[in-house]
């Protein structure tokens, strides 16, 4: 009996010890080769690869959002010939699933690799909110590529997000621009909003509501759905009673598609223009909505050639050559820039000893990334501030012209209608 108890105790203790050992932790100050760093040093032996991670939505209805960015990052890597600091890059991509659970799992998997140097991504704020801190706890900075929620780079953000920067705009700009468009261009004085509880949608809607009220407009209904809701008719009937001029719902493909399909059936919605957000710039949206998409508008960062940097047409050409189709979403340029910033950061801090081994200080890399200034990126000028915001915002409105997913092509379907 005693032996049994002892064995049981040993097994439990061993399990806890193993769990504690495998949990990614930031080490204390460390010196390896020529490099001393506050939170740790990664040593890459001569000939071994440098690990760079990535996590985006690569399954489910929002696949185009993530896949497009993974491709952007891969093209950047091709432009560096797959090499950085004299080592081959091993690019490990995980699925963020565009939700918190997915982000957490993907980040934990990436962080469990002790040789991981930096992570590019994610695409969704809901994945970055838990993912960023998990990575930074392991000393790995993240360069997010389309997470726009203001809290991620707010001055009072939690410690875990201090290693998190982004080559995409902040929704403080996007939400305000959206509200200004509704009020100034569409001449709307009443607005209804719908978010889906995700950090991206909720924060964006709050910013837009604030700006709209400031301008003198009135928010007549502020509603919320869950991403899996299918029956939007009661919600829309409720909104219709307030007779808004514009219904703004910057949510994701599945639930947005239901709103688009069902709003035309609701009495009282005839005078309301419905407008979605940038997550809907995807062939998957047309697949989910069908012909009801024709004439539907959504706000999006300007994705036309002249809005991007000079090298953008070249990126599109490489994209088509490599993947056999035109870009399937709007953030591949931001992802290209994200990877470029990461690679330049590594080049800046990597030190190689006489034997050809390379050493990268984790804190030094984080600081180098945050110090990126005036880089002429494909998505525009990249200059990071101390909170991790690196890119500006150019506003545009798009409209779908055809419901067939195979006709999706940024510029024609959807076509830019403003500015």
């Amino acid at each position: 009996m005693k032996l049994k108890k002892f064995l049981k105790g040993t097994v439990v203790a061993a399990t806890f010890a193993a769990a504690a050992w495998t949990l990614p932790q930031v080490q204390a100050e460390e010196t390896k080769g020529p490099v001393t760093d506050e939170i740790g040093v990664v040593m890459i032996p001569k000939g071994a690869p440098i690990f760079i991670g990535g996590y985006w939505t690569i399954s489910g209805p929002d696949t185009a959002l993530g896949l497009d960015q993974q491709r952007g990052a891969e093209i950047a890597l091709d432009d560096w010939d797959g090499m950085v600091a004299g080592h081959k890059v091993k690019f490990v991509v995980e699925d963020s699933q565009c939700n918190a659970e997915g982000g957490q799992t993907a980040a934990t998997k990436l962080a469990s690799n002790q040789n991981m140097v930096v992570v590019v991504g994610p695409d969704c704020s809901s994945a970055g909110t838990p993912g960023g801190p998990i990575l930074w706890k392991a000393g790995i900075p993240s360069v997010a590529t389309s997470t726009t929620a203001p809290t991620l780079t707010a001055a009072d953000r939690p410690e875990g997000l201090h290693g998190y920067l982004r080559t995409i705009y902040n929704d403080l700009s996007a939400g305000a621009a959206d509200a200004e468009y509704f009020f100034n261009e569409m001449k709307c004085t009443t607005m209804a909003t719908v978010h889906d509880g995700s950090p991206y949608a909720e924060q964006l809607v709050r910013v837009a509501e604030g700006r709209f009220t400031e301008l003198g407009g009135k928010v007549v209904a502020a509603e919320a759905v869950t991403p899996t809701d299918v029956d939007m008719r009661p919600l829309l009937t409720g909104i219709a009673t307030t007779k808004p001029c514009v219904l703004y719902f910057p949510i994701f493909v599945a639930s947005a598609a239901q709103i688009v399909r069902q709003s035309s059936e609701i009495k009282g919605m005839e005078g309301t223009t419905i407008i979605g957000g940038s997550a809907l710039m995807a062939p998957g949206f047309l697949e989910a909505v069908g012909d009801s998409a024709v004439g539907f508008r959504f706000t999006n960062p300007d994705a036309s050639d002249d809005a991007f940097g000079e090298r953008y047409p070249q990126l599109v050409k490489q994209y088509e050559e490599k993947y056999g189709e035109k870009p399937i979403q709007a953030f591949h340029a931001n992802a290209y820039d994200g990877m470029a910033v990461a690679l330049m950061g590594i080049e800046k801090v990597a030190k190689t000893d006489a034997d050809g081994n390379t050493y990268i200080g984790r804190k030094a890399l984080r600081d180098a990334l945050f110090a990126t200034k005036d880089y002429d990126g494909i998505g525009g000028k990249i200059s990071c501030n101390e909170h991790g915001d690196c890119a500006g915002f150019k506003f545009a409105v798009y409209e779908f012209t055809n419901g067939d997913p195979s006709t999706f092509e940024i510029g024609t379907n959807p076509k830019k209608i403003h500015p």
């Binding site: 509880g197 809701d229 008719r233």
Partner: protein, 366 residues
């Protein structure tokens, strides 16, 4: 002390004892009942006083609720029949619904593209639903044969776990076969019309969906009540061993039950897709959970109960957020729709643990 006085004292003591017997859980349950009642009554009065919604809009809410409720009811029938016969919760039933609707999608899309769906609505719907019914029944039978039959005489949780496993298996097989994107179900022109009903304009598809669900439920009820096989089903559900001794082929009855459940799921799945226009591999899960709740709400094992439970759940989901929560000033009430539906479920079960129509089951089966 007079006799009357002493009896009064005794009564007083009894009451005190009763009070002492009141456990902590009882207090919480009573508080919950009172709290929910206050929200429901207070909220409803508040909403009606505010007068935000017109009579026409309340009617719309009711019709939205009946539409989705009819679909829940069809799916719930599969849960309740299997429970009645096997005392087994067939958790894979929601996903069986998805398999039929997903397979029928390809036919529906083909018919839509060729223009046949618009030209011949009745034949097309019969073909689409027929295919969904065949696929659902076939998969339901396969699940029964592989996952449930080996455990039929084993009194453990194994069949339940197996059912959950089957549910995941079906979801991910369809994801593997057809991908994880959302596809748009066709939207034929004839479904877009409006009908004037009691001076209200009602979309035609709502009548179609409610009509087909009611017809299917009536058909099922007649099968169970009026046919030989239906009588056998009822006998097996009363007492399987006795029915077997009376010469009823229990295996055959069980297979028949799964086929009937599969057919109802096939119809329910196609109707769900015709209303919500989308299909993806995970779509069976939530309607499945709701339909299971509807079956429990109506009294699991009871066929009219499942129908009533489904309609009740649909209507509460649709009317609840506007009626109960608008009045007490809760912001964005629609995201609490599931909460309302499940709170109502809990309330009904607190007041009537056997479900709305579950009386006949209470003594023998529960």
């Amino acid at each position: 002390m007079t006799a009357a006085a002493s009896s009064e004292t005794r009564n007083g003591l009894d009451r005190l004892k009763d009070l002492k017997r009141l456990s902590f859980v009882d207090v919480i349950l009573w508080a919950l009942r009172i709290g929910v009642l206050i929200v429901v009554v207070g909220g409803s009065i508040g909403t009606l006083i505010k007068g935000r919604y017109s009579m026409e809009q309340w009617f719309d809410f009711f019709m939205f609720g009946l539409t989705i409720g009819g679909i829940y009811a069809l799916i719930a029938l599969g849960y309740t029949m299997v429970y009645g016969i096997l005392r087994l919760i067939n958790f894979a039933h929601g996903d069986i619904t998805m398999t039929g609707a997903f397979s029928a999608y390809f036919l529906a899309r083909g018919l839509d593209r060729s223009g046949f769906l618009d030209a011949n609505p009745v034949i097309s719907m019969i073909l689409i639903m027929g295919l969904a019914m065949i696929i659902c029944s076939a998969i339901a039978l396969a699940v029964e044969r592989i996952c449930y039959r080996p455990f039929r005489h084993v009194a453990t949780l194994a069949p339940l776990i197996c059912a959950i496993g089957a549910s995941f298996f079906l979801q991910h097989s369809f994801r593997g076969m057809y991908g994880s994107s959302i596809r748009a179900y066709p939207d034929p022109e004839w479904m877009k019309g409006q009908v004037n009903f009691l001076s209200f304009e009602v979309p035609l598809y709502q009548f179609v969906v409610i009509g087909i669900s009611l017809a299917a439920m009536l058909f099922l009820y007649l099968v169970v009540q009026r046919t030989k096989m239906g009588t056998a089903m009822r006998a097996v559900s009363e007492d399987r061993d006795a029915a077997s001794m009376m010469g009823i082929d229990v295996n055959k009855v069980i297979l028949f039950t799964f086929i009937l459940g599969g057919c109802m799921a096939g119809i329910g799945g196609v109707l769900y897709c015709m209303v919500y226009k989308q299909i993806y591999f995970y779509m069976g899960f939530l309607p499945g959970v709701k339909a299971f709740s509807a079956a429990v709400l109506g009294g699991i094992g009871n066929i009219p109960g499942a129908m009533l439970g489904g309609l009740f759940l649909g209507v509460v989901e649709s009317i609840g957020p506007a009626l109960f929560l608008d009045g007490i000033g809760i912001a964005a009430p629609y995201q609490l729709r599931d909460l309302i539906a499940f709170t109502m479920l809990v309330m009904v079960l607190i007041f009537r643990p056997q479900g709305i129509l579950g009386e006949r089951l209470a003594t023998k089966r529960a």
